[in-house]
């Protein structure tokens, strides 16, 4: 997460002709002037005034144009559902009638000024008693007085100043978890404390203080060590012991088993020595081992506060819906209360939350979200509209035909794969290795012991202990976490965020790559526009004058491509769903939109989304917008094809087929008009052929496939925005790194294997010596932590070195 520095946000203004808004830095499409400052809308201006009146002007000095546009499409009763006690119970952390605590996720917070303002809310709103920001998580915790201000008013107030809380269906259904690592950190702290002090107490032994020489000391020291070691055994190590017990019950061998055996053997032997006063035990190596293991565990679980890897439709769908009752009055209800037959009102740019029949005469539906199809489709009264479609144009009424959970799109989540828990860990390399390892070790130990029992029973115990201790595969347990953990951190440098270490391992084994076209290979923001007909720059300026007032996807894209053109003022502006825009500019009557709307000649029609222009009733030309491919794709495809089989899926029509053919070549399988379920099925089919599939998608429509595949990577141009359930999130501009990411994953695995070999040799030699009874167990105990440290430093250094060679360097952000 980066705090946008003032320079960056001011640059934001430069590439537009319009002055940047003093409040939000957006280009001022229709200028509002006030105290000699430019504002892009009344909203921004009013927030500016509000802050100034409350002596919060510092906001603007902390960062340039720090604001965010106050909530658009804001109908006052939008948050009415928050008055519902049931909803409040779910949203509030705590409330007792007066004092209430709530935690919001606020995506628009992005800079120092945001933190400052959000923590000074009490100066703006007396009902708020204190507010605290967690910037990494973009969370705002608010204490407020329920009796003075309702939750609904609070949310309204926040969105009023441009910090609208993200309230999705998810926030009603899932409960926020406490930081997972807490107990792990405490364990580490305890283990560290005991380790340090036990070291202190056992060093004298190594430095020549002998039992004979000073029995009082040695006894005191060793017993203190025993006391200190107990919390480590019963608290610090309990995860491993518990896991081992589970493993035994389940009759499976996991890495925890040999570790647990080693731990127990080490501890038991130490106690035996101490009790029998035959030595000081090796409690220092014991605690040290646990300390290192815990360290590895923490290192492995890197969490990205701002990101979430397991999102389903609930995080996309609105939390509420406007239901229209019999008497025509509207009321806002939580989405999960919507029933079949309910009539609902959907506003411009809102999602249709459930399969429903359109009742108003016409509406445009943008399905890009569901199918990836980029240009909106016109629907008329009586048509069935699928859940997930985005309603464009003025508010329309719908009648629900399927409950939310059974709708066309959302039933994807009823698919069993979303039930089953991740089963990767068991399959992981570490565990497969440790299975063999354990068997070998146990076998050796028993054989050696039985042998010694016959010759020299006194030696037997020592041999048994030494074998188990030295074979304790801490190296194995450490190699994977530290290597993969380092790899994760290196990936992060290239804005590739991996869910957990196991994913890196899975990436290494991928042999088939399935691409989703829209949003993955193509990106709307790279749209190219071709102009046809005879339109002068002045004419285009006039076009811009219209389009910049419309939020229709095509208008927005067109406006962006028109960038710097000066645009005159438009009057009598008017937008008709399915047809286009109309307005008067410099006395000319302008129409921008569909062919029908502008009476375009047939030869001007194109398979690509097209915006036609008619001036004073005459068709003058059109702009053909085609989604362009992301840069760097040819190279990427070339490299990927060498190693793995490629496939291409797409939700929308095959209009770019030829273009893609040139890119991918003949041998690559293409599939168009794929429904989310089709995609899922396709991936599964590949897997049935025994292939390890990497799915690369972006939309919610890929969610099933992403989940089904061995690794699902979601490509996202805006990391703070939601991305569907996946194993990794990759920044759009980093897509070309994919080859390196794959390559480096296998490198990482090789490093792990290498360190296995190291520790294996070490163990073989160690065991070899141990079984002959030559090895003093205390030497074994000292050697063990040394091997751990060797392995850790080897893996981390090797991974970093190679990672740098693979180009995983810090990006200038």
């Amino acid at each position: 997460m980066t705090i946008i520095s003032s320079t960056q946000s001011s640059e934001l203004g430069h590439d537009h002709a319009d002055p940047a808004c003093f409040h939000c830095g957006e280009p001022c499409r229709d200028l509002v002037e006030s105290d000699g400052k430019a504002f892009c809308c009344m909203g921004c201006q009013s927030v500016y005034h509000l802050l100034n009146q409350n002596q919060l002007g510092k906001y603007y000095s902390l960062d340039a144009a720090p604001g965010a546009r106050p909530g658009e499409s804001g109908r006052r009763d939008r948050f009415a559902y928050l008055d519902d006690p049931a909803v409040q119970e779910q949203v509030l952390d705590f409330h007792d009638g007066t004092h209430a605590i709530v935690t919001f996720r606020i995506p628009t917070m992005h800079c120092v000024a945001c933190i400052w303002l959000l923590e000074n809310l009490y100066k703006l709103e007396p009902a708020v008693s204190r507010s605290q920001v967690n910037f990494p998580r973009k969370e705002l915790l608010i204490h407020f007085d329920e009796s003075m201000m309702s939750l609904r008013q609070l949310v309204g107030f926040l969105s009023g100043i441009g910090y609208e809380p993200k309230l999705s269906l998810e926030s009603l259904e899932k409960s926020r978890a406490v930081h997972p690592n807490r107990s792990l950190y405490i364990k580490l702290g305890v283990a560290g404390f005991c380790f340090a002090n036990i070291m202190l107490l056992s060093f004298p032994g190594y430095f020549g203080l002998t039992h004979a020489q000073n029995p009082g000391f040695m006894r005191a020291f060793t017993w203190l060590s025993v006391a200190l070691s107990l919390p480590v055994l019963f608290y610090g190590a309990n995860d491993y012991l518990a896991a081992a017990i589970v493993a035994v019950r389940r009759r499976v061998v996991t890495i925890d088993l040999p570790i647990a055996i080693g731990i127990v053997a080490l501890y038991a032997h130490s106690l035996f020595e101490i009790l029998s006063e035959s030595g000081a035990g090796y409690l220092d190596s014991f605690t040290g081992l646990i300390f290192f293991l815990l360290l590895g565990r923490i290192f492995q679980q890197k969490t990205y506060d701002a990101l979430s890897f397991d999102r389903d439709y609930t995080s996309y769908f609105p939390v509420n819906v406007m239901r229209m009752s019999a008497d025509g009055s509207e009321q806002s209800i939580p989405l999960n209360r919507l029933e079949v037959g309910d009539r609902m009102v959907v506003r411009h740019h809102e999602l249709v939350p459930a399969d429903a029949v359109l009742e108003s005469e016409a509406a445009e539906i943008d399905y890009s979200f569901v199918t990836g199809e980029s240009d909106p489709a016109l629907r008329t009264a009586g048509d069935l509209v699928y859940a997930g479609g985005r309603h464009l144009g003025e508010a329309g009424t719908y009648r629900t035909v399927n409950p939310v959970s059974r709708s066309h799109l959302t039933q994807l989540w009823n698919n069993p794969i979303f039930e089953k828990a991740e089963s990767r860990d068991l399959a992981s390399l570490t565990n497969r290795m440790s299975k063999k390892f354990t068997i070998v070790v146990i076998a050796t130990a028993t054989v050696a012991t039985t042998w010694w029992l016959r010759t020299d029973p006194a030696m037997a115990l020592r041999v048994f202990a030494s074998v188990l201790i030295i074979a304790c595969p801490c190296a194995l347990a450490l190699a994977a976490p530290f290597t993969l953990g380092t790899a994760m951190r290196l990936f992060e440098r290239r804005r590739c965020f991996v869910k957990n270490a196991a994913v890196v391992e899975a990436l290494a084994r991928v042999d088939t790559i399935v691409f989703d076209k829209t949003g993955t290979l193509t990106a709307d923001k790279h749209a190219q526009v071709e102009w046809h007909g005879e339109l002068t720059d002045a004419d285009r300026g006039m076009v811009k004058a219209l389009t910049r007032h419309s939020t229709h996807p095509l208008s927005v894209r067109l406006t962006d491509t028109l960038g710097a053109l000066p645009a005159p003022r438009a009057t009598t502006f008017n937008e008709l769903p399915g047809l286009g825009l109309e307005a008067t500019v410099d006395g000319h009557r302008l129409r921008v939109g569909s062919a029908a709307w502008t009476e375009a000649p047939d030869d001007a029609l194109s398979p690509h989304p097209t915006v036609h222009v008619a001036i004073d009733g005459l068709w003058r030309g059109c702009a053909v917008l085609r989604a362009a491919l992301r840069p760097g794709l040819p190279e990427l495809v070339g490299q990927l094809k060498q190693k793995s089989r490629l496939c291409l899926l797409s939700g929308d029509t095959d209009r770019q087929a030829t273009e893609l053919r040139d890119l991918f070549g003949e041998d690559v399988e293409f599939r168009f008009q794929q429904s989310p379920q089709d995609k899922l099925a396709f991936v599964r089919q590949l897997q049935d052929e025994g292939r390890r599939v990497l799915m690369i998608g972006d939309g919610l429509n890929d969610a099933g496939a992403l989940r089904q595949s061995d690794v699902g990577i979601a490509v996202s141009d805006d990391l703070s925005a939601f991305s569907p359930a996946c194993d990794a999130i990759l920044a759009g501009d980093q897509l070309p790194m994919l080859t390196r990411i794959l390559a480096f994953s296998s490198t990482a695995m090789r490093i792990i294997v290498a360190s296995f070999v190291i520790s294996f040799l070490y163990n073989v030699i160690g065991i070899g010596v141990a079984v002959q009874g030559l090895l003093e167990p205390w030497i074994a105990a000292v050697l063990m932590p040394i091997s751990s440290i060797t392995v850790v430093s080897f893996t981390v250094l090797a991974t970093r070195m190679l990672g740098h060679r693979h180009g995983f360097v810090v990006l200038k952000s």
Partner: protein
């Protein structure tokens, strides 16, 4: 060298006290957010309000 026990006792008690403090801190979520505090330090109300603050992470 019995005095070693004195030092040992004092040091252990000291370290123990800090261990307890550490546990309290983790439990009460003191270390949950390891970024915002460093920013908060710079924007707490005092006279450097004129300066431009901008950090990266």
């Amino acid at each position: 060298m019995t005095v070693v026990f004195v030092l040992l006792g004092a040091s252990l008690l000291l370290a123990g006290a800090f261990l307890i403090a550490f546990i309290w801190a983790v439990k009460s979520g003191q270390f949950e957010d390891t970024y915002t505090p460093s920013i908060r330090l710079l924007i707490e109300d005092d006279d450097n309000s004129q300066d431009q603050v901008s950090g990266k992470q």
